[in-house]
C-alpha cells in the first residue's frame, strides 16, 4: 500500500466534490439535473462531448490496442474523433433546434415524439440503453481497478472495491449535479495530462523513427495501414483487415455517436451558433490526444521489447497496462499520481454520464411511463437514485471476474449494441419523412436481436470476419426501410414539428 499515492488521490476527489458542491447551488429541478440547465457555452459543449466519449478505456484500451496491433489500429484514432464531429454536426444541429422548441431532456424524448409512440419506443430504447450503459460501466470499473491496483500496489479485487466506493460516494454526494463543470475540469486534465506525458514516453523509447523500425522488425504489417484480408487472420492481433475496417468505421463513427451518454450532451447547448465551429474543434482536439495515446502504446511495446520495462504477468489483459507502466518508468515519482488523475478523470467523466443515463431511463421512461403516470418529481428522482445504486452493485459483480483479453473488446461490445439499435431510428427519424413508428420499432428490436445472435455466434461458435454488430446494423436498416414502406405514412404535423427532412439546418434558423 502506497500512502503518498492514496493522499494525492484523496485530494483529487475532494477537489472534484468541492466543484460539485459549488455548481450544484445553481440546480433547481430534476430537469436541470439532467440537462445542466440548457446553458452550456461553446467550450463547455465541445469539452463535454470529448469528455463523455473519452473514458478510462480510451486511455488504457487505446494504448493497449496499439501495443498489440501496431499502426493498422490507428483507424480507431480517426473514427473516434470523427464520431465526436458526427454527433455534433449530423445529430446535434437539428436535435438542438427541435429540443429548444419542444424541451427534450433525453434522446428518447425525441424518439417517442418523432415516432408517435410513447410507451413502445421508450420501453425499447430503455432496454437497449440500460444494457449498453451496464456493459460500459463494467469497462470503467475494470479501468479504475487496473490503475488503482498498479498505483497503490494492492490486489485487483481490493482496487475494484475501493473504486466502487469512490464512485458511489461521488455519485451520492451529488457529483452528478455538477456534471458540466466537473466534465470541463476533467476534459482539461485529460488533455493536459496526455500532452504532458505522451511526448516523453515516445522520446524515451528512442523517438518515433526508432519505434517504427523496431515495430517493423517484429511484424512488417505493424507499420502498414491494415492487415492482409484473410479469415481467420494469421494472428490474434491481425483482425484489422480491410473488410473488418468497414464494420469498424460504422461501429465507432455511428455507434459511439449514438450512445445516450454522448448524444444527450447536444441537447444542453446554450446557442444554435455553437454548432458551426464545434465539430471541427472537437475533431482536431480529440485527434491530437488520441494519436498521442496510441503512439505511446507503440512506444511502450518497443520499451518492453528492449527490456526497459515489464508488464504485469499475473493479469489477463497485460497490454492494457502499457501506458501506465511506461509513464511510471519515466517519471517514477510524479507520473503515478498524474496518470491516476488522467485515468480517474476519464473514468469519472464517462461514469457519471452513464449513471445519469441509467437513472433517467429507469425513473422517467420505465417507472413514470409504465408504473406510475402521475409520479411526482421527487419520487422520480428517488427511483433514479435507487436505480443508480443497484447498477453500481450489479456492475461490480460483473467486473469481479477476470477482464477480457483487451478492454477494447468489452467497450466495442457496448458500442456495437448501440450501432444495431439506435443509429437507424435516429438517422431515419431526422432525415427520412417516410420512416414510421412500426419501422422504428421493427428496426430497434430486430437490430438488437441480430446483434445479440451474431455476438453469441462470434464468441461461442466461430469468429466472424467483421464486427458482430454489423449484422445487426444491416438487419435494422432493412427492417426500417421495408416495414416503413409497408405501413401508413407518419402524421404530417408530427413530421413538421420534429423538422423531419433531408436538411441539416432547420429553415427557421437560416
Amino acid at each position: 500500500m502506497d500512502f503518498n499515492m492514496a493522499i494525492i488521490l484523496g485530494l483529487y476527489l475532494v477537489g472534484l466534490l468541492a466543484i460539485g458542491a459549488w455548481a450544484s447551488r445553481k440546480i433547481r429541478s430534476s430537469e436541470d439535473f439532467i440537462v445542466a440547465g440548457r446553458n452550456l457555452g461553446f467550450w463547455l459543449l465541445t469539452l463535454m462531448i470529448v469528455a463523455s466519449i473519452c473514458s478510462g478505456m480510451t486511455i488504457l484500451g487505446t494504448s493497449g490496442l496499439g501495443y498489440i496491433g501496431g499502426w493498422p489500429t490507428i483507424w480507431e484514432q480517426i473514427f473516434v474523433p470523427l464520431s465526436a464531429a458526427f454527433v455534433i454536426l449530423v445529430y446535434g444541429t437539428k436535435l438542438h433546434a427541435i429540443s429548444e422548441r419542444m424541451g427534450y431532456i433525453t434522446i428518447q424524448d425525441y424518439l417517442a415524439q418523432r415516432f408517435y409512440s410513447q410507451r413502445g419506443l421508450r420501453g425499447l430504447s430503455a432496454v437497449a440503453g440500460i444494457l449498453v450503459s451496464l456493459i460500459y460501466l463494467v469497462g470503467q470499473y475494470v479501468a479504475i481497478s487496473m490503475v488503482l491496483s498498479w498505483m497503490l500496489k494492492i490486489s485487483y479485487t481490493d482496487a475494484l472495491l475501493i473504486g466502487a466506493i469512490i464512485v458511489m460516494i461521488y455519485t451520492i454526494m451529488g457529483g452528478l449535479y455538477a456534471i458540466a463543470w466537473v466534465s470541463l475540469v476533467q476534459g482539461l486534465l485529460i488533455i493536459i495530462g496526455v500532452l504532458a506525458v505522451s511526448p516523453f514516453i515516445i522520446q524515451s523509447a528512442g523517438g518515433l523513427t526508432h519505434v517504427n523500425n523496431v515495430l517493423a522488425g517484429i511484424d512488417p504489417n505493424y507499420v502498414r495501414i491494415w492487415y492482409p484480408q484473410m479469415h481467420p487472420p494469421y494472428a490474434k492481433y491481425a483482425f484489422m483487415t480491410p473488410m473488418y475496417l468497414v464494420s469498424f468505421f460504422f461501429l465507432l463513427t455511428f455507434g459511439l455517436a449514438s450512445a445516450p451518454h454522448v448524444i444527450n450532451n447536444v441537447l444542453s447547448a446554450r446557442s444554435q451558433k455553437f454548432f458551426k465551429w464545434s465539430p471541427l474543434a472537437a475533431f482536431v482536439l480529440y485527434l491530437i490526444v488520441m494519436y498521442l495515446v496510441k503512439i505511446s502504446g507503440f512506444a511502450s511495446r518497443v520499451m518492453v521489447e528492449e527490456g526497459m520495462i515489464a508488464l504485469p504477468t499475473n493479469v489477463s489483459n497485460a497490454q492494457d497496462y502499457a501506458f501506465v507502466v511506461a509513464a511510471m518508468h519515466i517519471f517514477p515519482n510524479i507520473a503515478g499520481p498524474l496518470v491516476a488523475v488522467i485515468v480517474l478523470s476519464a473514468v469519472m467523466s464517462t461514469t457519471d454520464r452513464l449513471m445519469l443515463t441509467i437513472g433517467s431511463y429507469v425513473g422517467w421512461d420505465i417507472y413514470k411511463m409504465f408504473f406510475n403516470k402521475k409520479a411526482s418529481d421527487r419520487s422520480i428522482t428517488l427511483v433514479s437514485r435507487i436505480a443508480i445504486v443497484f447498477s453500481v452493485i450489479l456492475t461490480l459483480i460483473l467486473a469481479w471476474r477476470k477482464p477480457p483479453e483487451l478492454l477494447a473488446f468489452l467497450i466495442w461490445m457496448g458500442i456495437g449494441i448501440m450501432l444495431a439499435t439506435f443509429v437507424v431510428p435516429i438517422l431515419a427519424g431526422l432525415y427520412w419523412r417516410r420512416a414510421t413508428r412500426e419501422g422504428a420499432l421493427a428496426s430497434m428490436s430486430l437490430g438488437l436481436i441480430g446483434a445479440l445472435v451474431a455476438g453469441w455466434y462470434h464468441w461461442f461458435v466461430s469468429p466472424l470476419p467483421v464486427h458482430f454488430s454489423f449484422y445487426g446494423f444491416i438487419l435494422s436498416i432493412a427492417a426500417m426501410v421495408v416495414v416503413s414502406l409497408l405501413t401508413r405514412s407518419p402524421p404530417v404535423d408530427v413530421l413538421d414539428t420534429t423538422m423531419t427532412g433531408m436538411y441539416i439546418r432547420p429553415k427557421s434558423e437560416r
Binding site: 499502426w71 519505434v211 458551426k276
Partner: protein, 31 residues
C-alpha cells in the same frame, strides 16, 4: 519518413486532414 512506409504516412495524415477540411467547409458555409 519516421520509419513508416509512404502509403502509411499518407493515410494517417491525409485522412484526418481531409476530414478536418470538410468540417472547416461546414463552418465556412454556415452564414
Amino acid at each position: 519518413m519516421f520509419g513508416l512506409p509512404t502509403e502509411t504516412l499518407i493515410a494517417v495524415t491525409m485522412v484526418p486532414g481531409i476530414i478536418a477540411l470538410v468540417l472547416l467547409g461546414w463552418a465556412l458555409r454556415w452564414s
